[in-house]
Amino acid sequence: MLVARRLAKDYSSGSHNLTVLRDVSFHAAAGSFVAIVGPSGSGKTTLLGLLAGLDTPSRGEVILDGQELGGLDEDARARIRGEKVGFIFQSFQLIPTLTAQENVQVPLELRGEPGAARRAHDLLSRMGLEGRTSHLPTQLSGGEQQRVAIARAFANRPRILFADEPTGNLDGATGARIVELLESLNREEGTTVILVTHDTTLAARADRVLRMRDGAIVEDTAGEAAPPAAAGEPQ
């Protein structure tokens, strides 16, 4: 489903060259739930950006659902995101001027898909937000906003979902409910989930945990939820 080969990312600032990601390779199978953990500055978010095609690597390649992202321009990568990728952010990133329902409709409307309103309404209902569909983000609690974000992430039936610290701005109980939701969607829809988090308890619920330090993967272990077969999967 998702393959990273010898990924590296450098930033140059004047005469200084800063490498934030070095030689990262791994493979995530379709339907798997992968957590990426590590301290601040270890390169988690940079890796996520490269895997999702939000940025381009300095070296190496990313193959998403059989498509090599390096050969595509920004707009072509955007189209792939629109078709195959879903996102969940730590700060929810709902568009403040749109209602909950309209936020969920966005990925479908960008592609001009019919039935966007119905699908959005269904997803919000599954998230337990039937009564909040016409509320603006500022009228919702943090947990509700993140549930809207999850509904939006699944609106286009993505093959893969990237979640960047999805519980970082939520209290423990709300965070736990969000993770349960992600897990059930992963199981029911067969969506591959790539989760970036600080939270080791949360990471432990994944099939597989990649630990990062100084821009490299230093550990690749099976999570508590890992099925026996997935643990020994080759990288």
């Binding site: 950006g49 939000l54 955007a78 629109g82 996102f87 952010f89 966005v106 001009g112 966007a116």
Partner: protein, 851 residues
Amino acid sequence: MNLRQVTSLARLAWRESRTARRRLLLYMSSIALGVAALVAIDSFAANVNRSIRDQSLALLGGDLTFGARQAFPERAIAILDSLEDNGAGVAYVTTFASMALAPQHERTRLAQVRAVGEGYPFYGEVITRPAGQWTRLHDGHYVMADPSLLISLGASVGDTLRIGFTDFVILAELEQVPGDPGVAAAIGPRVFVAERWLEEMGLLGFGSRAEFEAVVRLPDGVNADQFIEPFRAELREQRVRLNTVAENESEMTESIDELADFLGIVGLIALLLGGVGVASGVSAFVARKMDAVAVLRCLGATSGQVLAIYSAQAALMGLAGAAAGAALGIGIQLMLPGMVSDFLPVDVKVRVEPLVVLTGLGIGVWVALVFALRPLLSLRNVSPLQALRRDADPAVLRGRWRDPARLSVDLLLVGSVVFLAMQRADTWQQGAGFAVGIAVVLLALWVSASLLSRLARSIVSAGWPYVVRQGMANLYRPANQTRAVVVALGFGAFLVSTLYLTQSNLLARFEVLAESARGNLVFFDVQDDQVDGIATIVRDTGEEVVEQIPIVNMRVARINGWTMQQMTDTTNPDGVLRANWALRREYRSTFRSEMVATESLLYGRWFSDSDNGLPEVSMEREVSEDLGAQLGDTITWDVQGVEIPTLLTSIREVEWARFEPNFFAVFEPHAISDAPKQWVILAAVSSDDRLALLQRDAVDRFPNVSSIDLSLIRRTIATIVNKVTMAVRFLALFSLAMGIPVLFSAVAASRRARVREGVLLKTLGATRRQIRSILLAEYVLLGLLAALAGMVLSFGGAWALLTFVFNQSFKAAIGPALAIAGTMVLVTVVIGLLGARDVFRETPMAALRGD
């Protein structure tokens, strides 16, 4: 993109604009005043032109008119007679100035007497009060006069009015005479009498100034222009002017178009100012939208889709702004005829002009969109990665100058400005001049801003107070808005100040008119043998005769031996370009040995006693240029049949706009003192009562002598000037009003960054006062630089406009320009601080949360 995608995007654009609509509409409203100006000005011009076309026959009174400054020559009479024999209607109109006296009240006033033949006017209607009296004019010794005359004489309908040696009964007041602007009645009130009393009045004696006109109604089916063509050259030779309805119409619409041209420049300025406002406002809007755009990009929106969403929002709001402007323009258009009707020769029928309104709307939306596109394009640079980062980096909004899309938009912008300038200007050279001028100003502002940024960086010293250092640092730090804000503010200041300076210079011409002269009562048409009599009447009343000025009528016969025929020949044998008007006109000249206060010597020397063999003459600068006459030339004059050669020994500059008798040609006394002449006598009279008494006594003894009360004229002109001033003040206020939305937009562009920094500084312990001082330092510097640069540039702009468009000299009004600049600085600071009030409202927690 298929239709479904387009409608989906349109829906998304509409929803996404939800909370930003008001703000975006505010930015886009900058365009509203520009559209209002365009719609009002163009609709008004279209209304007036349409009214002229509709009323063209009535305006001329016939199909064709013959006009002359002296009695018609035989050839003209013969043509008119043959016309009458062939079924055409001919009515003669003789117009001259004379004193009108109301014997009951013993009051007099100078009036414009029109002796008209039966049938006049053939088209249109003279409206009288009581109504329907016009047809009775020829029934007896009747007159009809303007109400202003009757008021000043204390007379009313039914009273007697004496003109010359004849008494008439006032039959009615004139309400409306086709073809005359209302203001004509205020300057010289009209009295209509039947033509057959002309001789009885006994006023048209030697040297009397009168206009002779014959109004002709051609038989049906005869085309006036075709009919008159064979006679045109011959009649012109005999100084008979011909005017057909079509010519009259085009002359009138031409002058209205000239007025519209000036107002058109105001419209263009308003529109460009609006464009600048839109550009800076949309820059601020774009900065706010970075997060939303990053999310959209994450969710799969292409850069084209993002651009489409926000361009659609801008276009829609631009349309709303332009529509509001068009509605305002229609409102102003309804008001305009009321404000200027006195100056127009037609009764303006106000009508909404759909084509003008649509054009205004179209241009408004186009300008809004083109100016908005440049900042909107930078939204394409927003990376989806931004959604993962907590801080949006405004630096990404800076475009790369080699970006083809950006270059295309720049080209479109320049093209639009050039096109609009060309469309509004009179000639393509003027249009190109406007466009180049605007480019130079923008470049100068950009360079000034860059210099300020550099200067701020190099002069800031560690020893300065922190708040000043911080305020100045805002001018050069990364992602600073110095250039954008200075260009927007400076351009606003430049345009407003240019408009003001142009208006005040144009208006100054009127104000000089109202200046006082040495005397307040003028007698004219005084014959040689009446001079002593008039002077005695004045002195016997205990008043002073200020000046007695002789006037001799003459024409140019030859210059350096070249005859009139040779000089007006198209082959131009002597190679000197001469203006026809100057060669052919009748000169009313004087002789004296001294110069007067309104004259100054430009070239040559004033009359000397030395004997040059020829008498000396001094000419006014402009007329000497138009005659192609230079110092040392011999000008031969035809003084009522006698040729008098003279030597041109000096050229004078004359200040015309004063109530003083001034002359194109002044002779040394012995040259023409024996020629037949008339006199103008200027008297200084101490009271209004005595003035009335003097006028009555003079008209009693010398009915042919006219007198004019200058204070009355001054009052009349003051009324007109007040009206013009009101219209101009309205324009000035309008242009200042245009500046405010631009200021708002310009300051809004950097507002967000300032609020964020301010809140962070508060978190770090800065007091409100310190933050306010930092902002104050920044906005004062920005405002000062922009306003002063704009002001200096506006001197150049106004000079260029006055010199090349209005052919007038420019006088820099530094005081008012500084006042405008000061106001701009003040408003900048106020708007800047108002915009930053969120800094004081937000708690430091907001910064900690990263909201």
